[in-house]
């Protein structure tokens, strides 16, 4: 059945998010102290599958193992340590208030709700802010080498969207160090026998029996063997879907398949259109480009963003005098300056480039200049703060940022949308939990810098291990065998798809399709979206998808390491997701956070929210046409206001 582009059906609203009521500050404590528990002897009889080994999955698998559950963890990489959390540079937020600069759990809560443009849930966000404090303690105890001051205490820095200094960091490699902490905790449990790790395995379907998530179908990427793993609960920690744009700051392997398969099995997908475009990435250098590299937001602490004041000024940056430069973020947003939230910085960058004032090849870039910082702080200090980032920039571009300003441009970085979960991180399929970037919670329509690491570890170390017990207290669930018809059906669906991809034997590579899909998404569902553009995108996606299934060429066989086959399956799912993203973006005629509808802006070109009609989470049910379930957002403690950073 075909539908008109953007067509959807309105379903039942989501009435209950399972959040405790009562005072906001007491909700998490109350949930923890009243939730049902599983006694230690019974935990040994309960099987939990964790898909993904990044900050969320790694920390969850380790912690569930410590609690005594029988855990099996899966990742597509050759080691759990390679999960893409490792690439996070800047830092992790926590409301420690070690600086005595007025920070508190309430303030982090407020900043996150406001930063998310009032499209997230108060209960979840408050808990995140609350738990942030414990995360830092936990990581330090594990030996994470955070940056320290001479007195031996932890150093912090400021990040976008905040006026306090609450971001803890380990040079420009905070994600790496936090992930290695979680990885080491995970390997400790492997050694203890509570966690079994399956590397080079990809989840290709979710097994649902009698309405409960009971296992997964996986493909061994080395041998091609397709097997099933059955359990009492499944935790998805499979990350975000930024690679639907082909070019993004995500690792090449990042994909939506695990989430999408769960969605096809009945899990609602929330706010798919909410994607984050990060303002400071190295610009595209040519058609060969395979990925984009982020330059940490922390650089905006000391770097100043500018373009020539006049369009068409082709002088070298050093030849442009001070009064002929436009430090456009400082000019438009004096209160926050270069540290405005990411969505705002990205759009402002696009605006000056659209204005013809962009720099570098194609005019798609702006300067990030450290000349002032070098003069004020000296080279040694700048090097200590950002040395590895400067080196990375030079390696990629061949330019030395100590001599000439960096050139940066926005790129897809993070996806706020994801599988819908309630307060306890349960999806709409009982027994299926979703954590980290894979779920939609906490960040609303825009994520603040240094909050992804916070959320991944909050979910994995502290939230999920405390909420999963209430579900597992009803287990173990009836024993299943691989011969159960629902299990056989799921496994057969996977082997059929593998066979189908291998037998098309067309004339176009998987990558060529992915690249083309990415261009459509970037053009029409990127930084600025319009009704006409989104409708056009849906038509283009559909026809490209049809072509994919007729013309894709996947060499080799299914019984070996076959990287083309892996990518083909992922791109096939990206096609379906891409259409849903456009439907979501089309139906939300307001602008909010990272979702900018050109039709809905203030006279100054800022995002114009429409709280009267859109103060809800859009949770989509898989169907043709898709069914929209609204979760109305109630603000009891915060008052939605037009965001102002000026």
């Amino acid at each position: 059945m075909t539908t008109n582009p953007g067509e959807f059906v309105l379903g039942e609203p989501i009435a209950d998010t399972a959040a405790p009521d009562g005072p906001l500050a007491e909700r998490w404590t109350r949930r923890r102290s009243t939730g049902r528990l599983v006694n230690p002897a019974n935990r040994r009889r309960l099987d939990v599958i964790v898909v993904g080994s990044g900050l969320a999955g790694g920390s969850a698998a380790a912690t569930l193992g410590e609690l005594g559950y029988r855990v099996r963890c899966y990742c597509y990489q050759d080691s759990p340590r390679r999960a893409h959390s490792i690439a996070a540079q800047g830092g992790i937020n926590a409301a420690k208030n070690y600086r005595n600069d007025g920070d508190s759990v309430e303030r982090l809560f407020h900043d996150t709700i406001k930063g998310g443009d009032f499209r997230s849930r108060e209960s979840n966000v408050y808990r995140l802010a609350e738990v942030s404090v414990e995360i830092i303690d936990q990581c330090v105890a594990q030996g994470v080498p955070f940056a320290r001051e001479y007195g031996g205490l932890l150093d912090t820095r400021s990040f976008g969207g905040a006026q306090v200094s609450r971001t803890f960091y380990a040079r420009g490699q905070t994600g790496q160090q936090l992930l290695l902490g979680a990885y080491q905790a995970l390997e400790r449990q492997v050694n203890a026998g509570t966690v079994t790790m399956h590397t080079r395995h990809e989840m290709l379907d979710l097994i649902v029996v009698d309405g409960r998530a009971r296992g997964i179908v996986v493909r061994d990427l080395e041998t091609g063997a397709v097997t099933v793993d059955l359990a009492d609960a499944v935790v998805l920690a499979s990350g975000g879907y930024g690679n639907v744009f082909h070019l993004s700051t995500n690792a090449k392997g990042c994909n939506v398949t695990a989430s999408w398969r769960a969605h096809r099995r009945g899990a609602l997908f929330a706010n798919p259109a909410f994607t984050q475009i990060h303002p400071t990435c190295i610009p595209v250098s040519g058609d060969h480009q395979s990925k984009l590299t982020l330059m940490s937001e922390s650089l905006r602490n000391d770097g100043r963003v500018w373009v020539p004041a006049e369009a068409g000024d082709t002088r070298a940056p050093g030849d442009i005098p001070e009064d002929e430069r436009d430090y456009f973020l400082e000019r438009r947003y004096p209160a926050y300056g270069n540290l405005v939230p990411r969505d705002i910085a990205s759009r402002a960058t696009k605006a000056v480039c659209d204005d013809g004032r962009g720099v570098g090849p194609g005019g798609r870039g702006v300067y990030l200049d450290f000349a002032d910082a070098l003069e004020r702080l000296g080279r040694a200090t700048v090097e200590a703060r950002y040395g590895n980032l400067f080196e990375m920039y030079e390696r990629i571009t061949g330019d030395d940022p100590y001599q000439t300003p960096m050139r940066i441009y926005p790129a897809v970085h993070y996806t706020m949308g994801g599988l819908w979960v309630d307060y306890d991180l349960r999806s709409t399929i009982p027994g299926l939990f979703v954590i980290g970037e894979a779920n939609f919670s906490d960040h609303g329509a825009n994520r603040l810098g240094a909050s992804a690491l916070m959320q991944g570890l909050a979910d994995g170390y502290f939230v999920l291990p405390n909420t999963i017990g209430a579900y597992l207290a009803d287990g173990p669930f009836p024993k299943l065998t691989p011969k159960h018809p629902d299990v056989v059906e799921a496994r057969t669906a996977v082997t059929d798809q593998v066979r189908r991809l291998l037998t098309i034997d067309g004339d176009r590579s998987v990558d060529s399709f992915h690249r083309e899909l990415g261009r459509i998404m970037w053009e029409y569902c990127g930084m600025e979206r319009t009704d006409a553009g989104l409708r056009k995108a849906i038509e283009l996606i559909r026809s490209l998808r049809e072509e994919f299934w007729a013309r894709v060429k996947v060499p080799g066989t299914g019984a070996e390491l076959n990287q083309s086959l892996e990518r083909a399956g992922r791109v096939a799912d990206f096609f379906e997701l891409a259409e849903l993203m456009c439907v979501d973006a089309l139906h939300r005629t307001e602008s909010c956070g990272g979702h900018f509808r050109a039709e809905s802006q203030t006279p100054d070109g800022e995002a114009l929210r429409d709280d009267e009609h859109f103060s809800y989470v859009a949770a989509w049910e898989h169907a043709t046409p898709p069914v929209l379930h609204k979760e109305e957002l109630a603000f009891e403690y915060e008052t939605p206001s037009q965001r102002s950073y000026s």
């Binding site: 105890a141 030996g143 031996g152 080491q184 390997e187 990558d511 070996e560």
Partner: protein, 248 residues
């Protein structure tokens, strides 16, 4: 820019491999080395041949997935740089480049340039951690850590586990990898209680995996993309010796 790539092709773990030459044209100096392999694979795929298998993921030099011996040097000619961050401006038009997988007894070749590095995970399992179960931590400021120690720990912790050190070592030793973790954790106050047992257990796992011994040739640190210093091996020796003296 045009290049001839001579690449190790091997169907699976048991097959015999061989070097196969491919011409690749239309390259730009701004490409990364892996993007050149992407171009070659696109070319092979449309011609109906099997693309070259290679591990890669983040492509920004931090995940440690990529790794190949380029013209006889692990990760290629540029210092402190992984293969994914190596750009073609370091090569000349018309060059012939040899590309091989890591070669070491403890890293069996899986296919083409892909090797099995699971032995690294087993070394970490043997003790490359601080036992701090979730929820048990005191306040982060309970124990100040001198900045010099924190910085030294960070320097050792920067290891990305790529395995270049093993590929470069004439003995196929993973001592730099193992010692980096021992030094990272052993430099911090939180790592002291398990310090003696950590070093001996990790070293035993290292030997059991089939890695060779260290003879201080220093090839490992020369190719390490993160510049892990050879001195970490001194820390490992110190801890192993200390454990032996204490009988632990």
């Amino acid at each position: 820019m045009k290049l001839t790539l001579r690449i190790w092709r091997q169907k699976d773990r048991d097959a015999r491999g061989r070097m196969v030459a491919y011409d690749v044209d239309g390259l730009s100096a701004d490409m990364s080395f892996l993007e050149v392999l992407d171009v070659l694979n696109e070319q092979l795929t449309t011609a109906g041949d099997e693309p070259v298998a290679f591990d890669h993921d983040c492509r920004e030099g931090i995940c440690g997935a990529c790794g190949m011996v380029i013209n006889g040097v692990a990760h290629g000619p540029q210092k402190l740089t992984t293969a994914c961050q190596l750009h073609m401006r370091h090569f000349k038009d018309g060059d012939t480049i040899d590309v091989e997988p890591w070669r070491a007894r403890a890293f069996p070749v899986v296919k083409d340039l892909v090797v099995d590095r699971s032995a690294f995970d087993r070394i970490i399992q043997a003790g490359g951690y601080i036992s701090a179960p979730t929820g048990s931590a005191p306040d982060a400021h309970a124990t100040p850590v001198p900045k010099v120690d924190a910085d030294a720990a960070f320097e050792a912790a920067a290891c990305i586990g790529c395995g270049a050190c093993v590929a470069a070592c004439p003995n196929g030793s993973a001592m730099l990898f193992t010692a980096a973790k021992v030094a990272h954790l052993g430099t911090l106050p939180q790592g002291q209680p398990e310090r003696p047992s950590r070093a001996t257990s990790m070293l035993a796992a290292h030997d059991e995996a089939g890695f060779g011994g260290c003879t201080n040739t220093g090839e490992c640190t020369a190719v390490c993309p993160k510049g892990i210093p050879l001195t970490v091996i001194g820390s490992l020796n110190h801890d192993v010796l200390g454990a032996a003296v204490r009988g632990r």
